[in-house]
């Protein structure tokens, strides 16, 4: 069923991510986040869902310091997010961007996966080891000599995840990881993510994935948190979902063929 470790909102362990009263307004005057708070415990998998423009991506960008809070605080592990702690925060939080093309830019897959570890200043043999390890985790070891721009969408996504895994982050943050994937690639990705030990935070429109992968769901609406709780409850609450411009995951809706409504 949902969740891997049985951690829920009631997890008692020390939070690895703590967001307090976070506010952010884009330079063009768009108030994207209007004060929201949540914390995530070690090993939790959390889905952040909400309508287009609700502020999901903006939240994620704060988690590894791509954006700095204008008001409120973000804590990652023991580090309060600031210019000074940025290198530590980025080592802890691995960010997989929505569009893999933004992330992959080296001429060869293995160079791309090596980019992070090399920037960490690791010795060459350790870098090689990490590259092969990360690629084999996502099942892309055979792609290592290919140029990234010649890969399929699913392969690109796998490599983009490997390029973050190679830095051994303890928290994985992903923006819409299942977008543009065919059903099988999507299923494979979900199964892969289920095997990860890391704390995972995903922003997604794929509520079935949220239901499948994440024990906990946070619904965001217009820059505020609408609800935060166990996925199994939230994703069945029709009233709540409509308020968040969402609908129940397909698998929780009645089958229109075997039991037509009415």
């Amino acid at each position: 069923m949902a969740g891997r470790h049985g951690h829920g909102v009631d997890a008692v362990s020390h939070p690895v991510v703590e967001v307090r009263d976070l506010q952010y307004t884009y330079p063009d005057g768009n108030p994207a986040l209007r004060g929201l708070s949540f914390s995530v415990a070690q090993g939790e998998t959390v889905a952040i869902v909400g309508a287009n423009g609700a502020g999901k991506s903006t939240i994620l960008l704060h988690l590894n310091g791509c954006l700095m809070p204008q008001a409120g605080t973000v804590r990652i592990g023991d580090f309060p997010l600031s210019k000074r702690t940025l290198p530590d925060v980025r080592r802890t939080v691995g960010m997989v961007f929505q569009d893999p093309d933004d992330q992959l830019f080296m001429p060869k897959v293995q160079d791309d996966v090596a980019f992070g570890p090399l920037n960490l200043g690791l010795p060459a043999d350790e870098v090689d080891r990490r590259v092969m390890h990360a690629l084999s985790i996502v099942g892309a070891a055979h792609l290592k000599d290919r140029p990234p721009y010649r890969l399929s969408g699913g392969e690109k996504r796998a490599v983009a995840i490997a390029s973050v895994l190679s830095m051994s982050p303890t928290i994985l943050v992903m923006d819409e990881p299942t977008s543009n994937l065919d059903p099988q690639a999507r299923r494979r990705l979900i199964e892969l993510l289920k095997t990860f030990e890391q704390t995972i935070i995903v922003a997604t429109h794929d509520l079935d994935m949220a239901f499948d992968l994440c024990a906990r769901t946070i619904v965001v609406k217009e820059g505020r948190i609408l609800t935060d709780g166990p996925s199994r409850e939230i994703l069945q609450d029709a009233v709540l979902l409509v308020a968040g411009h969402l609908e129940r995951p397909l698998r929780l809706q009645g089958c229109p063929v075997c039991s037509p409504p009415g």
């Binding site: 791509c66 569009d99 093309d101 830019f105 001429p107 090596a114 090399l118 960490l120 973050v164």
Partner: protein, 270 residues
């Protein structure tokens, strides 16, 4: 990305070529860079009417293409793509400089035409040398070599980004052109006004994209310094290549080899 590659510039293919294992590819990037620079300096520094002394320099690209297993046709196409620029630079010479310089039997050739031919030849030589450098080394390694040889990091990083963003720009341009042609019926919407709006959009979009790429790089610890896994080491083979090529270039620069060969042949025949 690949669509842009094949139809617009196909520069990505150049990088793919650099992933081979030939004697040329195995040379140290710094050695190749230095040799290429020396080659270009030698070729460019001839006086503007020089033609015969330039010819022997053709050997360098030919040998490298052969040893480096590079596709000649592809490289020639890339050279041709850039040729119009050189053509524009040189084409006024025949009009401005009409003094007769060479008599070939009844044919009189003006200095303008000679210098035009010289410009075109130099252009082909230098551009092909630069293309061969990238095709046999990879652009990242060229930038790394520049940095290792003392070029400021700011400069090499800019170069690296420029190279990366060319693809981004090409990609965006292609998508916008496709979107426009799909929706402009019977030529309407293809007006100049629309084009200028599109160029503005294109720049904004590219900037946006470039920013996201930069962000993604920073997230993985990029701090303005390029690091690649390959260790650079100059060995005996590299030194032989560097010294050998330099000697040959300098010799060809200082002596008009074809004329010298011709004179010797004449002397022997007499």
């Amino acid at each position: 990305m690949e669509k842009t590659g094949s139809s617009l510039l196909d520069l990505t293919y150049l990088d793919t070529l650099s992933d081979q294992d030939t004697p040329v590819h195995r040379l140290d990037p710094r050695v190749k860079l230095l040799t290429t620079l020396l080659f270009i300096v030698c070729v460019v520094s001839f006086n503007k009417y020089e033609l015969s002394a330039l010819l022997p320099f053709v050997i360098y690209p030919i040998v490298l293409v052969a040893l480096g297993n590079l596709p000649l046709g592809y490289l020639l196409k890339k050279v041709l793509l850039a040729a119009p620029f050189a053509f524009l630079v040189g084409i006024f010479n025949p009009l401005l400089d009409r003094a007769v310089l060479v008599h070939l039997g009844p044919l009189e050739i003006s200095g303008g035409w000679v210098s035009f031919a010289s410009i075109m030849l130099r252009f082909v030589l230098t551009v092909s040398a630069a293309l061969i450098l990238v095709a046999s080394t990879g652009f990242n390694a060229v930038c790394l070599a520049l940095e290792k040889m003392g070029a400021p990091a700011a400069f090499t990083v800019q170069l690296l980004f420029l190279y990366r963003y060319i693809f981004v720009l090409g990609d965006e341009a292609l998508r916008m052109l496709r979107a426009r042609s799909l929706r402009s019926f019977g030529g309407r919407g293809m007006a100049l006004q629309v084009s200028s709006l599109m160029i503005g959009q294109l720049l904004l979009r590219t900037l946006d994209r470039a920013q996201r790429i930069h962000l993604a790089m920073r997230c993985r610890g990029f701090d303005g310094e390029i690091r690649i896994a390959r260790q650079l080491r100059i060995g005996g083979r590299d030194l032989v290549f560097l010294v050998g090529c330099s000697a040959i270039f300098l010799f060809m620069r200082l002596h008009d080899v074809p004329r010298w060969l011709g004179d010797t042949a004449m002397a022997l025949m007499r």
